[in-house]
């Protein structure tokens, strides 16, 4: 008995040692191959014939220091537009998704409208939409020229909201459809109306499931805020572009790119973390 358990302990120690050897080996290989690939790329770029020029044009420290405060100032506009449009998109998307889900015959015209909306606005490139809304709506002459509603920031934001609302409504709708039919049956069986079943049982579960894909759309939205610059607003990309044009140095654009990354990368990590946390849960 003792001999056997002693032998068992030895085997356990052997297996542990083998596992540690394997892990160390894997880490060493990963480190070496990373060094080779990244080092090789860096060497390739640094030894390329045009590198000195590229470095001065795109990565000039002095240009960076000079332009960064202005670009950062413009970036605040991006952040503000992003935050407001995101909230609008969350609400608009859910409304459109619900209209397309609720079978009530009285809602048929709205359901039709919602379907046309998602089809059309998902199909038009966002940049075209920004042009159309930004220049088309004021041209209608329905709104006073000094009104907030013809401000390019508002119109650009509205165009983004229309475009992303269509995407997000489809994400929500997929979430609603992914909740099993038996949940609706159970909700009705405890005496809820169809609307109550949607409100208290279906939608809460759907929203939980679509968190990661929604966050993915918001990362895309965050960078597409730059598109509103084409109708005028002085946001980060626009300011960087103006500064670039003044002395043919592209460093301000790189500064703008870093600012976008400063938001999108944390969002992407948050997304990873969220998806990992959800693995296996939620369903029942």
């Amino acid at each position: 008995m003792t001999a056997r358990s002693a032998a068992g302990t030895d085997r356990r120690a052997e297996r542990g040692a083998a596992r540690r050897r394997r892990d160390r080996r894997a880490q060493a290989i990963a480190a070496i191959s990373t060094a080779i690939v990244l080092g090789g790329l860096a060497a390739l770029i640094a030894t390329s014939p045009g590198w000195d020029e590229v470095r001065d044009t795109f990565f000039s420290t002095s240009q960076f220091e000079e332009s960064f405060p202005d670009v950062l100032g413009g970036f605040w506009l991006d952040v503000k537009v992003f935050l407001v449009v995101e909230v609008v998109v969350l609400i608009l998307g859910l409304l459109v998704a619900l209209l397309r889900t609720v079978p009530s015959p009285a809602l048929f015209p709205l359901r039709l409208l919602a379907t046309v909306y998602t089809d059309v606005f998902r199909g038009i490139p966002t940049i075209l939409l920004v042009y159309l809304v930004g220049f088309g709506v004021p041209a209608l002459g329905l709104i006073a020229n000094d009104s907030f509603f013809v401000d390019p920031v508002f119109l650009g934001g509205a165009a983004l909201a229309l475009s992303y609302g269509a995407y997000v409504s489809e994400v929500y709708r997929a979430g609603v459809n992914s909740v099993h039919r038996s949940q609706r049956a159970a909700a009705l069986a405890v005496g809820l109306t169809e609307t109550q079943a949607l409100r208290h049982v279906i939608v809460p579960q759907a929203v939980r499931r679509v968190g990661p894909p929604l966050l993915n759309d918001f990362i895309a939205l965050q960078k597409d805020v730059a598109l509103i610059s084409i109708i005028g607003p002085q946001e980060a990309f626009r300011i960087a572009q103006v500064e670039t044009a003044s002395d043919f140095n592209y460093t301000p654009l790189v500064a703008a790119a870093l600012l976008y990354l400063a938001i999108t990368i944390p969002l992407a990590r948050l997304l990873d973390y969220w998806e990992k946390g959800q693995g296996g849960r939620v369903h029942s």
Binding site: A185, A186, V190, H283
Partner: protein, 248 residues
């Protein structure tokens, strides 16, 4: 003894396939009727038709003497007077045990939260679920989940409980606790219709057992008669097969 449920010639087809071909059944107050039959014989469909989750094609269902299957009747008000328990529990995974139970009491019966919670806690305790109120359904065993589902249906004080194969999705060692819960319902005089595979259970809890075969209730009577001395050849065959499978 007045009839709580009266089922008259209920017919239901899914497309071309007739699942129920004219079922008649009367369930008296405090009576428990077990419906036995092979998978696909229409047991679940019958219960869903009674709870108006499925629209019947012909016939009528009466609850306390009033027709509930008329298109003019609001199905929500009917479902609020019936309690259905599903084979796969169908608890709400995003709500804890207490909220699962109180959702129908609050939104359906109009109780305020404190009152609903007091009542729900008492019911949960009676079914051995004290201390689990704040757990999520996926933290419970299958037997516990099904007991929560029974409490959830019972909490709305239904006129009749409809139990659809409540032990079929459970591991064998968990069946006992759910059967005890159903016995508890019976001892309190809850009117019940239960679709079941458990013959011993039908024998013990049911006042009457009905054998559903290909959409028809072939025979119905006291358990000792239907289960020990069946008249219809189909019932005999069904029970023999169950015996061979070791389920009776």
């Amino acid at each position: 003894m007045s009839a709580v449920l009266e089922i008259r010639g209920v017919t239901k087809a899914w497309g071309e396939r007739e699942v129920l071909k004219g079922v008649d059944l009367t369930v008296a107050e405090h009576e428990a009727v077990a419906i036995i039959g092979a998978s696909g014989s229409g047991k679940s469909t019958l219960l869903r038709c009674i709870d108006l989750l499925v629209e019947i094609d012909d016939g009528d269902v009466l609850l306390d003497g009033a027709v509930i299957t008329d298109p003019s009747v609001d199905p929500v008000s009917v479902r609020r007077r019936l309690g259905l328990v599903f084979q796969a529990f169908n608890l709400f995974p995003h709500l804890n045990v207490l909220d699962n139970v109180t959702l129908g009491m609050r939104r359906g019966q109009g109780l305020d939260r404190p009152a609903a919670e007091v009542e729900a806690r008492a019911l949960l305790a009676r079914f051995g679920l004290e201390g689990r109120e704040l757990d999520r359904p996926d933290e419970l065993s299958g037997g516990q989940q099904q007991r929560v589902a029974i409490v959830r249906a019972l909490a709305t004080r239904p006129r009749a409980m409809l139990l659809d194969e409540v032990t079929s999705a459970l591991d064998p060692e968990l069946v006992g606790e759910v059967l005890r819960a159903v016995r508890e319902l019976k001892s309190e005089g809850v009117t019940m219709v239960l679709a079941t595979h458990e013959m011993s259970f039908a024998r013990e809890v049911a006042d009457r057992v009905g054998f559903l075969h290909e959409g028809r209730l072939l025979e119905i009577g006291p358990p000792e008669q239907v289960l020990s001395d069946p008249q219809a050849p189909e019932t005999k065959r069904f029970l023999r097969r169950l015996l061979e499978a070791g389920r009776a």
